[in-house]
């Protein structure tokens, strides 16, 4: 390998990626939505929107609202269910040479285990991301994302049902991030991803009503980046399993920050909506950064924070 082409490949707890830049769940649909605009084969991995065992309608509109440097969303996990996903989207995704990670969620421990088992029986999926922290489905967040014993239970139950790499997505809880990261590692997670969106509210001052149909939602975008960075840094010090860092990444410089903080891979989320090719420009910029800093591999940069 020449000095001018640094090695961007990453092994994320068993997910072999050509480069460390993936697209985050809920911001890239199920693949076909952006396929005309982005060469899916170039992505490090594609994380599809949250799938539950049965189809789910989601929340009433308005479902998103733009705020300063951010987006509050309360989609409510609308999805076609595991069978619908396998029937309508998996054949499309299998045409591409890209790891497909399915974000899964349930209302009960049993539902989490069942959807994990069903998807694990399918051919062509690379890993499961466990959504225990979506702020928009009450059962999901209250029961699993911020309650450590429940988090352990759901993770253990899913672990029993799948041999696919398992990546729990952690809630942005400043006081408990290390405990959750360690619990994930102890329960057999292969990696962790963070952060999910941050619970947030926007108010229409003329009507004095919440803007969103679900009243509250999850804040994402550049507004949350410094918070996400701190959480990734803390989690990285607490565990040995790799971390997928995300939260407001819109440029290569943002991604480099997350990697220096301890992320082995990064995910592009909200930025996809305004610039669908962000993941590609981020990986190009990351490569240039590595060259400029005489680094032969991206791995050398992971957790390289000097302090």
């Amino acid at each position: 390998m020449s000095l001018n082409s640094p090695d961007l490949s990453v092994n994320l707890g068993g997910v072999r990626m050509k480069n460390p830049v993936m697209v985050a769940s809920g911001t890239f649909g199920y693949g076909p939505e952006y396929a005309d605009l982005v060469d899916l084969n170039r992505l490090g991995a594609l994380v599809v929107k949250g799938i539950s065992l049965e189809p789910w309608r989601g929340n009433p509109p308005p479902r998103t609202v733009e705020v300063a440097s951010g987006l509050i969303n309360a989609i409510g996990l609308q999805n076609p269910g595991a069978e619908g996903f396998l029937r309508d989207y998996l054949p499309f995704l299998r045409q591409f040479d890209v790891p497909v990670i399915v974000n899964i969620w349930g209302r009960t421990v049993e539902e989490y285990a069942a959807v994990a088992e069903r998807l694990s029986a399918a051919d062509g999926l690379t890993a499961l991301e466990l959504n225990v922290s979506c702020p928009n489905v009450k059962e999901g967040r209250t029961a699993f994302g911020t309650n450590l014993p429940m988090f352990r239970r759901v993770l253990a139950a899913v672990r029993l049902k799948t041999r696919l790499p398992l990546i729990p997505k952690l809630a942005p809880d400043l006081s408990q991030i290390k405990a959750f990261a360690q619990a994930a590692e102890e329960e057999g997670a292969d990696a962790i991803s963070l952060i999910n969106s941050i619970p947030a509210l926007a108010i229409d001052i003329e009507t004095r009503r919440p803007v969103l149909g679900n009243r509250t939602g999850g804040l994402s975008g550049p507004a949350i980046k410094p918070i996400a960075l701190k959480l990734v840094w803390e989690a990285a010090q607490a565990v040995r399993i790799p971390i997928v860092g995300m939260g407001g990444i819109a440029s290569a410089a943002d991604a480099v920050e997350f990697i220096i903080a301890g992320a082995s891979a990064v995910a592009i989320g909200t930025a996809n909506f305004s610039e669908p090719t962000t993941a590609l420009t981020v990986m190009d910029g990351l490569r240039e950064y590595l060259i400029r800093h005489n680094l032969g591999t991206v791995k050398e940069l992971v957790g390289a924070l000097r302090c």
Partner: protein, 264 residues
């Protein structure tokens, strides 16, 4: 659908407080179907995380234009752009108006104010001549009539304050025309405007056993079907209902697809 950085050719007042933005979009413009939209990345709107969607008003050869009024941050930033600058587009997006209806149907366009922007290409490209009904609160909300009359399409106008055309709602004028029995042929509606107007047009179409294509306007996120922001409540085949993406399956729906009860 493609991403294209396009050159602004013309940016001028269009009347009634609206601005017309015309761009050279050799990739997107030739692909545009009536009723489709483009998703605009507004320059110098640095803290914005979303693009802004606009119906394609006119499209000819390699150029297309949109109409807009300054209503918020996005359109205010758009208004500051000048000819010679560039802007990023994704398009053409969505399912537009089908133009392949039976030749014996008379096209009836119904626009509420700015809704005419989405309807011009229907009139221009339909091989059959029809007529247009336009409504608004006041004379200043009525725009683009000349563009339709230039195509030879007669325009019926209604304003709620009576400052232009008939005093009342656009559906009042439409009802008068329907009631006069002038339509020796079957009407086919193409409508764009506020929800109340769309529902009223749909009600008339269903009562008469006619077809009505309605272009809905929903708050939009990604514009390509990924984020599920812009959903519309639609009837499901099994008699139940589902949330359907207005950016992908829409923005044009046949009136029988939409479930208006509970729509807010």
């Amino acid at each position: 659908m493609q991403l294209e950085t396009v050159l602004i050719l013309e940016h001028r007042d269009y009347g009634a407080g609206y601005r017309l933005l015309k761009v050279a979009a050799p990739g997107i413009a030739p692909q545009v179907q009536p009723g489709q939209f483009v998703h605009v990345r507004v320059p110098r709107l640095n803290d914005a995380v979303l693009r802004r969607p606009f119906s394609v008003f006119q499209a000819q050869a390699d150029t297309l234009s949109i109409l807009y009024k300054t209503v918020g941050r996005g359109t205010a930033a758009l208004a500051a752009l000048a000819a010679g600058q560039t802007v990023g587009l994704i398009g053409p997006l969505g399912h537009g108006f089908p133009l392949d209806g039976p030749a014996e149907r008379v096209p009836v366009l119904v626009a509420g104010g700015y809704g005419m922007a989405a309807l011009y290409l229907v009139a221009q490209r339909l091989p059959r001549q029809g007529m247009v009904f336009v409504g608004g609160c006041s004379a200043q909300d009525i725009l683009g009539i000349e563009d339709f009359t230039a195509l030879g399409w007669p325009a019926h106008i209604a304003t709620e304050d009576g400052t232009r055309g008939v005093r009342g709602l656009v559906t009042d004028v439409l009802d008068a025309w329907l009631g006069e029995g002038r339509q020796s042929r079957t009407p086919e509606f193409f409508a764009c405007g506020p929800n109340g107007m769309l529902q009223a047009v749909g009600d008339r179409a269903q009562a008469g056993g006619w077809t009505a294509w309605l272009s809905v306007d929903r708050h939009m996120g990604c514009g390509v079907g990924a984020c599920l922001t812009c959903v519309v409540k639609c009837k499901a085949p099994d008699g139940d209902w589902v949330w359907v993406r207005s950016c992908k399956e829409g923005p044009v729906f046949e009136c029988r697809q939409i479930q208006w009860e509970e729509e807010s």
